[in-house]
Amino acid sequence: MELVALFISAILINNFVLHYFLGICPFLGVSKKIDSAFSMGLAVTFVMTITAVITWVINHWILLPNNLEYLQIVSFILVIASLVQLVEMFIRKVSPPLYQAMGIYLPLITTNCAIMGLALLAALKNYSFVETVVFGVGSGIGFTLAIILMAGIREQLDLSDVPEPLKGAGIALIVAGIMALAFLGFSGMIK
């Protein structure tokens, strides 16, 4: 039951974009079309899940037993950077259609703070292995949800008359603010 609560809260309440402000760059950059937003969300969810597993193993089997917590930042970022490269090569080899769908978004993910944030938050909150995986999948789905909603709104915005200075980033941030406001409504769901 607690795992279900963790899963739902990662998607709706502690949404990575709208609550933790992680992954804002792709959220603003790749949210002009629903198709590309979906691919980006897919790629992020995929990498997040793998990252959650691998960084947990590194943190609990290598760093913590040897009192090397201060190496977390360096080792996590290196793992994520090499992991993204590996995943990219693997997908290109195994599933060309999937590569077509999320290929160009994969390299961008290395510097996506959502991935690094996931690894750090899971380490900070001392999640068990299963909790970390659930947290990773939930956060990925939460990111996908937020970016798709954003893309849907922005496709409509293209047709509307936005004041000149607000065009681009300005209106996107205000829309995100209103979305965050709406998501605040979920916070009473789980105590």
Binding site: L18, H19, F21, I73, I77, C113, M116, L120, L124, P165
Partner: protein, 203 residues
């Protein structure tokens, strides 16, 4: 393009290439830590430290780094300084460190820092890279200060923890919460567009 003077190299970070308002880089920490002025200042100083030292190191070893692995090398350099900043804050300012939470380690993926290494330090001398890093950091701190002042004053009625608005003022709690961050930054970016437009018209 003629080479910029040292002064221009510094001031471009404040306005024309301000990392937050003009280049829209480093949005995550900007939005996340500006709920109180003190957090904004701590974040700004930590980022300044990392950016300046990374720029100095990267620009001095730029000839030794093979092109193919440059991004990875930059990240290792940056991560080293981030770890130092993180440990320093945890040791001397445990309260602020706790407030900032994962956002101090997250400086490592702050696009401003990696962006400056790739766009500037890898091509320029140590001196120029230092000035550039100084200017960019000043621009970043300026943006954090503006944003966090607005949010703290309206959201809590305080500035740096001191009461500035009288007891008649009902704090707009929403300003401290995430939506306030998004909306305030959106309006500020629109304002910079308006100001820039006015400046251009006057010329």
């Amino acid at each position: 393009m003629p080479p910029r003077s040292i002064g221009e190299e510094f001031t471009k970070g404040l306005w024309h290439e301000n990392p937050i308002f003009r280049q829209l880089l480093g949005m995550c920490p900007t939005l996340a830590v500006t709920n109180a002025v003190i957090n904004g200042i701590a974040m700004g100083l930590a980022t300044t430290f990392v950016l300046i030292f990374s720029s100095i190191v990267v620009s001095s070893i730029k000839k030794l780094i093979p092109n193919q692995v440059r991004i990875a090398s930059y990240i290792v350099v940056i991560a080293t300084f981030v770890t130092m900043a993180d440990r320093f804050l945890a040791a001397f300012f445990p309260l602020i460190s706790k407030d900032l939470g994962p956002y101090v380690p997250l400086i490592v993926v702050n696009c401003i820092i990696l962006g400056r290494q790739e766009a500037f330090s890898s091509k320029n001398s140590v001196g120029r890279s230092f000035i550039d890093a100084l200017g960019m950091s000043a621009g970043f701190i300026l943006a954090l200060l503006i944003l966090s002042s607005i949010r703290e004053i309206l959201g809590a009625g305080t500035f740096l923890g001191h009461q500035v608005l009288g007891s008649w003022f009902e704090p707009w709690v929403i300003m401290i919460l995430p939506p306030g961050a998004f909306i305030t930054l959106g309006i500020l970016i629109a304002l910079t567009f308006v100001i820039e437009h006015k400046i251009k018209q006057r010329r």
